[in-house]
C-alpha cells in the first residue's frame, strides 16, 4: 500500500464508522459528535482530492458554525425524555434498511463491477483549481449571479430564523 492508499482507507473507515454511529447512537449529543468526526474525515478526503480551499471552508462552515448551532440547540432543549423516546423498530424501518442496502448494492454493481476501474489519475490541473485564487476568480466572474443570489438566501434565512425562534410564536394545537 502506498502512503496515499493508507490515508484514503483510514479516512474512509473512520468516516464510515462515524456515519453509522450518527444513525445508531441513542443520545443526540453523541450523534452530533460523530457527525463532527465524519466532517473532519470528509475534509481529509477533500484534501486528498487537492481541494484545499473547500476543505478549510468545509471545516469553518460545518464544524465551526453549523454543528455548534446543533450542539447549542440540543443543550438548550436539554431533552430529559430523550431516553423515553424509545424508537422501536417496526416493519417500516426494516424495509427502509433493506431498501438502502439494495440501493448500495445497485451502486456497487454500477460503479465497481459494471464499470472497469479506470486507470486515470487525478487531473494534474486540480492542484491549481483547488487554490483560493482560482476559485475566487471563477466565483466572481462566471458565478457572480448565483453568488449574489446566495446573499438574498442567507438574509431570508436570518430573518426566518429570528422570526421563528422569537418567544411569541403562536402555533394553535
Amino acid at each position: 500500500m502506498t502512503f496515499e492508499e493508507i490515508v484514503f482507507w483510514s479516512l474512509v473507515l473512520v468516516s464510515g464508522f462515524a456515519a453509522l454511529m450518527v444513525v445508531i447512537s441513542r443520545s443526540p449529543i453523541a450523534s452530533a459528535l460523530y457527525l463532527i468526526l465524519n466532517f473532519f474525515c470528509l475534509a481529509g478526503l477533500y484534501l486528498t482530492l487537492n481541494a484545499q480551499f473547500i476543505a478549510v471552508v468545509h471545516i469553518i462552515v460545518y464544524a465551526g458554525a453549523i454543528m455548534v448551532l446543533f450542539l447549542f440547540v440540543i443543550m438548550l432543549l436539554n431533552l430529559q425524555d430523550e431516553t423515553k423516546l424509545r424508537e422501536r423498530m417496526n416493519w417500516k424501518s426494516f424495509a427502509a434498511i433493506a431498501l438502502s442496502i439494495l440501493f448500495l448494492i445497485e451502486l456497487f454493481y454500477i460503479f465497481i463491477i459494471k464499470t472497469p476501474t479506470p486507470k486515470i489519475p487525478i487531473h494534474p490541473s486540480s492542484k491549481e483549481i483547488g487554490t483560493v485564487e482560482y476559485l475566487g476568480k471563477i466565483l466572481f466572474t462566471e458565478f457572480l449571479f448565483p453568488f449574489e443570489l446566495t446573499s438574498i438566501l442567507l438574509i431570508a434565512a436570518i430573518i426566518g430564523a429570528v422570526v421563528l425562534a422569537k418567544k411569541k410564536f403562536e402555533l394553535t394545537d
Binding site: 468516516s15 470528509l42 478526503l45 477533500y46 471552508v57 483549481i129
Partner: protein
Amino acid sequence: MIPLNYYLLFAAFLFSVGVVGVLIRRNAIIVFMCIELMLNSVNLTFIAFSAFMGNAIGQMFVFFVMTVAAAEAAVGLAIIIALFRNKKTINIDQINLLKW
C-alpha cells in the same frame, strides 16, 4: 492511486446511511443531522468529479451547497425550537399538524 469509483461508492454509502437515518430515527434533530450527512455525500461526489475531470465547476457547486446547508440549518433549528416550545417534544411522529 485511488480511482474515482471508490470515492463515488463511498459517497453512495454515506448517502444511504443518511437515508436510513432519516427513515428510521424519530428524533427531529437526528433526522436533521442525517440530512446534513446526505448533503455532504453529494459534496464528496462533486469534488471527486471536479478533481478527476480538472474542472472547477464541481467545487463551485459545493460552495453553493454549503451556503444552502447553512441557511437550512439556521431555519430548520429555529423551527425545531419553535415546535419544542409549543409541543414539548421533538418526536416527529407527534408533530403531525399538517397530516390529516
